[in-house]
Symmetry: C2
Subunit: 343 residues, 2 copies
């Protein structure tokens, strides 16, 4: 079969790789209907992460189950499934607590032991603990939104949950990538009264508004802080979603949080120094991390199927799998928010 | 009147100072029944904080209201009151949200504008927003416990609340000072099934057990982590209370927290580098800060008056106010957990 491999910075290819097979009784093999490129794939693409030449890449996909191991009970061939970006056994104490992203037997999708999502087929370990099937094979128009549940929508949701967004809140979202935009959607869905998106890109501002942002702040740093304080009578936001992961974005997140608020963070921290004295003096909390996309899947899937949310709008480009390299380039150059790939 | 002043490291004195008077209509003057020495007073005592020679010290006391300003409505002369360690206006958005420790018009007790607690009398600003009166003048035996509500018990409670302790939890408390011990009591009162105190001082271990600790771990660092993991089948604690404030104690707190747990911190951070990548990968949150002792006062006062809790046991020494210098020395040398002072 064909699958995407990375060989060096800016060198991703569609390569011939072995067809996946069931190896363990808890495995499943899925025919990929749609995959996509994640902002975090770009770290490898740009050479910011170490690259093992020839390794697979891509961890988001949806597809149709082809075959399951003898112990798999919750999905069967023919099912349309969403695969979260990590495979989890579903039975360890962390999984039982809803923290499948810290499963004691975790396998990252696209790592050794679980094929990536930018290919034709994928073997999934821990099928019962990982895959969630739709009640029936969905209309193709729902595929983009279902695909976001494999990562970005679940991650934006986790930011909002971690920040303890509640009805009536004023919520600030730092970051206008696909995750930040999904964070806007999550906050709005949770009943936030005001959702403030920090964004200075017109196309992203537009999508943020479609997702429920009531205010857009194009400024950064101290000016963004001043704008939020003006909006909140000098008090700050009830909840803040940190969807970037840089020291500057963390600083902004804490700057705009009101005393007693929680910063929900899902951006992988890069060089972040947590302002612990500010947290102490202002009683601002910090919570989040790698999203347990699996935990949120049933709830978010129901919302997608009912039409309550349409996170698939984050895809502003669709390419055939063979054009995967072009997709990486478009996201790298920020010409696209997020690229969907069809095998 | 007499009040404690600090002049240089290891030099505290009982000095003659002006009698307090009502200056604003929102002030009250309180005759101090009992005050005490806080662990944080020792930073100044040891010269770790900058000392303004001759400045007042001490921020915990209870007493009888002598006089109130014309706008004071909730307390009257003759009332027995607890004064939290900061005065708060009670009306700003932060106070209304229960974060009186981040009041927009905060005045620290023992700072300019609010007499300290190690003296004979004290002027209190924002009397309505700050003081909480008992229904009647309490029996003298209850004074120590009521006194803890001005700081240490409220702070231990804040650690537990921030860590989101709930019934049935396994809770680890890092720190066996008065605040840590009150954290043990708070966790037990909130229904924790197992309360694990990290302590290697016999007298503090004993008090921790009296306060509800079910397990004592005398080890530190990696050995403490191993002991907690053994106790929790390798998963970690449901909630962790950080009551020290050093980099090492924070590290231990995060090491023993299970994925999804929150570290509630109330120890003033000194040189702490928050392990943000660990927080991210394990989804461990951090919340807390300067305790809103005022928020918790009504609830904790009811618990003290009913006998449900007896936090006054943290006082293992009582001295007349004139022996205040001896009290500082005893706490500095860790001969005493906490010293109560009677004017």
């Amino acid at each position: 079969m064909k699958a995407t491999t990375i060989h060096a910075p800016f060198d991703v290819r569609l390569s011939d790789v072995p067809d996946p097979v069931i190896e363990k009784p808890t495995d499943a093999v899925v025919k990929i209907v749609a995959g996509c490129i994640c902002g975090s794939d770009l770290w490898s693409y740009r050479g910011e992460n170490k690259i093992t030449p020839g390794s697979r890449i891509g961890h988001e996909y949806v597809g149709i189950v082809q075959e399951v191991g003898s112990e798999v009970r919750t999905v069967k061939p023919g099912d349309f499934v969403v695969t979260p970006f990590v495979a989890s056994d579903g039975t360890c104490p962390n999984c039982k607590a809803g923290l499948q992203s810290v499963c004691q037997n975790i396998v990252g999708i696209g790592s050794k032991g679980a094929d990536g999502g930018q290919g034709e087929y994928a073997k999934v370990p821990w099928a019962d603990g990982t895959l969630v099937a739709t009640p029936e094979v969905p209309d193709d128009a729902l595929v983009p939104s279902l695909l976001t549940l494999s990562d970005v929508m679940g991650t934006g949701w986790h930011a909002a949950r971690s920040a303890r967004v509640k009805a009536g809140d004023t919520v600030v979202v730092v970051g206008d990538g696909a995750v930040g935009l999904c964070g806007v959607l999550a906050a709005a869905r949770m009943g936030a009264e005001r959702v403030v998106a920090l964004s200075r890109h017109e196309s992203r501002q537009k999508l943020a508004r479609e997702f429920g942002a009531t205010h857009i702040i194009a400024e950064r740093g101290d000016e963004a802080k001043a704008a939020v304080l003006e909006l909140t009578d000098g008090v700050g936001a009830d909840a803040v979603l940190e969807c970037v992961g840089t020291d500057q974005s963390f600083k902004t997140a804490f700057d705009v949080a009101r005393p007693g608020a929680t910063v929900g963070f899902v951006g992988v921290p890069h060089g972040v120094e947590v302002p612990i004295r500010t947290m102490f003096s202002r009683n601002v909390g910090l919570a989040g991390g790698v999203a347990p996309a699996r935990q949120y899947l049933p709830e978010l899937m129901a919302d997608v199927l009912s039409g309550a949310i349409n996170p698939g709008l984050v895809f502003d480009a669709e390419l055939p799998l063979k054009a995967v390299a072009e997709g990486y380039q478009a996201m790298h150059e920020r010409r696209s928010i997020k690229v969907l790939l069809r095998p």
